[in-house]
């Protein structure tokens, strides 16, 4: 049985609101929790594969040029080293999310410092690591590498799809009552997922099993097959547990392809794990940005113009660029607009998706600029935003789907007691600490992605949910279980969800916040089909069918599911496709952030003391996991605001801070007891389960609330992120 729905029109049936079991939305514990807290969940490097060898990648120590010689003979056959792989199929860089084909291959050409150029395979990890360390590599370096995205002689290009102009922004700026015209900079970021990328490859004849840490098996299997020059049918990928992704594991990456090639060549399974520095150097970085923002408003604070012109960077030939202006297009009104992205071509680690590509840094800066405009106009920052919520998309003239932006602003201001804040920058002090408050808006585009899932209701009244969808910490195991429980009327201990196996029906993968609504919709549709079959057996209309606690019926009568199935197993595949509602309505998620900081008047150190996020993202499928996602995003915002920064040396292009000691992600003491409020919402245009994405919304503007609070505390505008001590010290008020 198959059930298909294309989102060509709204689905306002809100069926999940009527189910008897009532698990959807509740803070149900993750079903995968007991395995994770006891160390029994199998991540990529943790499968018991007999006869496994270890591979360690060798990294380039030049930024542009060619590998002329790899002295393999000097190490192969000694100290346990079995092989040195320099195959032309090795990946030079990972695939972009959704590439569905191999990224650039052939490691003789070097495009950036740290690029994998060879793999050393040995009996033990220690032998392979030593082999990789001593392997002599000769290069022919090209002298024309570009490292500085802002250098005058760096090549740039203008992606056609991301240049937008409407009206006359220069004129609007000239005529405005109040304006902001500022340049902001954000540094590069690394996802820094806790589990380093790893792949374990084993061959059985022509059949490859690859156990790895990947977010989107539906694309990864094709990328891997293309890279190896084999057919996807000969590959099985397994990623049931992924130790964090945040975009860094969207595409197939060098460890997978090198492990597969090596395992074939040596005739034994091979495991390749990236070291932490390799994670920083060879997986995706978020591009640094330079953002020129211009805002013009009238005397009432109503925007008349918005300019957001950005410079980002990537390797030559990469089609991905950080879509910085993504939310600027639709969030606020203003008739005169100029939005554009320019891409500098430089020899640094590949630029790609890092949590909320676009909004993570675009909203961060836009919301700083709004704060500056609010001050210029003498209008409360919350009020200023509310005055600029447009009725229709300001560029495309289409309506919005469900949008709870104004409510998020109001609710946040109320809970945070925003009206009680000190309004004069630099004037609230507690001992040597300067106290400040700031806020920002949140917005992130919503995406539905094609997804399939199979649900099987067994004769014993237990159900199985199956898809190649992944759970990267997002809560997929929980929410798919909850949807199946409610639709089939079963308690949670009678539903099992299996994920991360490419042999299962193809899901949407985890990325772009679409995972829950897309795979959840596929499970919902499969369950609807099973409900129809049960209703058929009872000879009632499916709409009248009530399923709860393993019993089925209508009205007062109820019989056990087992009795009704009478030995039969019912199985259905659900298939959801995006449709017209994505084109005809502007779909996004919205929210607000409020932060209180203390800045040390002596040292310039900033501590976040209080932080609140209020979010509207359609139906919340699990209050607990959704809240955790928001914590995560907001804390990434704290990192973006205060500490996170990839530092490249523009003399030779190497990444200076390629580990967790030098790239500073927030630690426990950097984070207060953050408060998250999830607004009640159903978005009928988003999906048949009225849910939207929430995994990335928490970061989309969060850093701005922190830096706006720093301004309120100190009177200092930091426009060059992160707001480290050195950027505050010189201008701090007298102690």
């Amino acid at each position: 049985m198959t059930a298909h729905q294309k989102m060509d029109k709204a689905d306002d049936r809100n069926r999940l609101d009527d189910m008897v079991q009532g698990l959807v939305g509740t803070p149900m514990d993750r079903p995968d929790g007991p395995l994770k807290v006891s160390g029994q969940a199998t991540y990529a490097h943790e499968w018991d594969v007999p006869g496994m060898l270890y591979g360690v990648l060798v990294r380039a120590t030049i930024s542009k040029g060619r590998v002329t010689d790899v002295a393999s003979d000097a190490i192969v056959g000694q100290n346990g080293v079995r092989a040195v792989i320099t195959d032309d199929r090795l990946l030079r860089r990972p695939a972009q999310g959704g590439a569905d084909e191999a990224p650039p291959q052939g490691s003789k050409q070097v495009d950036y410092f740290g690029q994998p150029i060879a793999l050393v395979v040995a009996e033990t990890f220690e032998q392979a690591r030593h082999g990789a360390h001593v392997l002599a590599v000769s290069y022919e370096s090209e002298g024309n590498a570009a490292f500085d995205p802002e250098a005058e002689d760096t090549d740039t290009d203008l992606p056609e799809d991301d240049q937008f102009e409407q009206g006359d922004l220069d004129r609007a700026m000239h005529d405005a009552a109040f304006t902001v015209d500022q340049v902001y900079r954000t540094p590069g970021h690394n996802s820094a997922a806790m589990e380093p990328h790893c792949a374990m490859a084993s061959w059985d004849g022509d059949k490859l099993t690859l156990r790895g840490s990947y977010q989107m098996l539906n694309y990864n299997i094709n990328e891997l097959a293309d890279a190896l020059h084999i057919v996807p049918d000969n590959i099985r990928m397994l990623s049931p547990y992924v130790g964090g992704g945040f975009g860094s594991k969207l595409g197939i990456s060098p460890e997978a392809v090198s492990a597969a090639i090596a395992a074939k060549e040596v005739g034994q399974p091979v495991c390749v794990a990236l070291s932490r520095p390799q994670v920083f150097e060879t997986t995706m970085r978020r591009s640094e940005t330079r953002q020129h923002v211009r805002l013009a408003c009238d005397a009432d604070g109503v925007l008349t113009g918005i300019g957001h012109e950005c410079l980002v960077s990537n390797l030559p030939g990469e089609s991905f660029y950080e879509p910085v202006t993504q939310a600027t297009h639709f969030l606020y009104g203003g008739k005169h607009r100029k939005l554009g992205i320019e891409v500098a071509r430089i020899n640094r680690t590949c630029g790609g998706s890092v949590r909320a590509p676009g909004e993570a840094v675009g909203m961060q800066v836009l919301e700083n600029a709004l704060d500056e405009l609010a001050e210029a106009a003498g209008i409360d920052p919350v009020d200023l935003r509310k005055r600029n919520v447009p009725d229709r998309h300001p560029e495309q003239d289409i309506p919005y789907s469900s949008r709870r932006f104004t409510e998020a602003l109001d609710e946040g201001a109320k809970i945070f007691e925003w009206d009680k804040r000190n309004r004069k920058p630099g004037s609230l002090r507690e001992g040597e600490w300067l106290i400040g408050h700031g806020m920002a808006g949140a917005a992130r585009v919503n995406i539905l992605s094609e997804a399939r899932a199979r649900v099987t209701l067994h004769a014993d009244g237990r159900a199985l949910v199956e898809t190649d969808m992944t759970d990267i910490g997002t809560g997929t195991y929980a929410i798919l279980t909850q949807i199946a429980c409610d639709m089939l009327g079963l308690p949670a201990d009678r539903v099992e969800t299996r994920l991360g196996d490419s042999d299962l029906p193809s899901g949407p993968g985890s990325g772009g916040s679409w995972g829950a609504s897309s795979s959840g919709s596929a499970v919902f549709l499969a369950c609807e089909e099973i409900r129809r079959a049960i209703a058929g057996k009872l000879e009632i209309d499916e709409a009248e069918l009530r399923l709860g606690n393993g019993k089925a019926g209508s009205g007062q009568e109820a019989r056990s599911i087992r009795e009704i199935l009478d030995g039969e197993t019912l199985s259905a595949e659900g298939h959801i496709e995006p449709g017209q509602t994505l084109e005809e309505m502007q779909q996004a998620t919205y929210g607000s952030y409020f932060a209180e900081v203390a800045v040390n008047a002596v040292t310039g150190e900033t501590r976040v003391r209080r932080m609140l996020g209020v979010f509207g993202a359609g139906r919340i499928l699990n209050e607990k996991t959704a809240t955790s996602q928001c914590y995560g995003g907001m804390i990434w915002g704290i990192g973006s605001a205060l500490t996170e920064e990839l530092v490249f040396d523009n003399r030779d292009g190497h990444l200076v801070n390629h580990d967790l000691a030098e790239y500073h992600v927030p630690v426990n003491l950097d984070v207060p007891q953050i408060e998250v409020v999830l607004l009640e919402e159903r978005d009928q245009w988003a999906s048949p389960i009225q849910a939207k994405g929430i995994g990335e919304l928490g970061i989309c503007g969060a850093a701005a609330a922190v830096t706006n609070a720093i301004y309120n505390a100190t009177g200092i505008r930091v426009r060059d992120y992160p707001a480290t001590l050195d950027k505050l010290l010189a201008e701090l008020p007298e102690a």
Binding site: L35, T474, T625, V671, P672, I674
Partner: protein, 169 residues
Amino acid sequence: METTELTVNGKSHRLEADSRVTLLDALRNHLGLTGTKKGCDHGQCGACTVIVEGRRINSCLTLACMHDGDAITTIEGLGEPGNLSDLQTAFVAHDGFQCGYCTPGQICSATAMIEEARAGWPSFVSDDLSGPAAPSDEEISERMSGNLCRCAAYPNIVNAIRQVAGGQS
């Protein structure tokens, strides 16, 4: 090759391994105890935290052969599904994790940390350097700051530990 006797979770193992093998790799690659995680291999993230002779350490920063005769507790020794420790149960209930990769290290670290605080070890945020430290949120956060969580489950990690350590919010 070095011969090392390790007692892991009460069971003795005779390890025959390269002297370069870290305690972390001995557990994962030689003894099949993959609950202990490798997040950085540099002592920077805490994912590999285990308890050696009652003290929490980063197992990536020490060689296995340096622990001949030592008693080691890993996450597998604290509890298993169906028989979880109080902290493990609290981490599930409070959602003190997301991807779960740093979690065994967090829980081993917290298990030993609670004892350190009870034994009167002061921390950077302790007002009083003598006597046991009350498990305030700030004390918990400071003492757990060697265990990174990129999913950033920190508020819930604190909630879980506070519940078990008997602290007040």
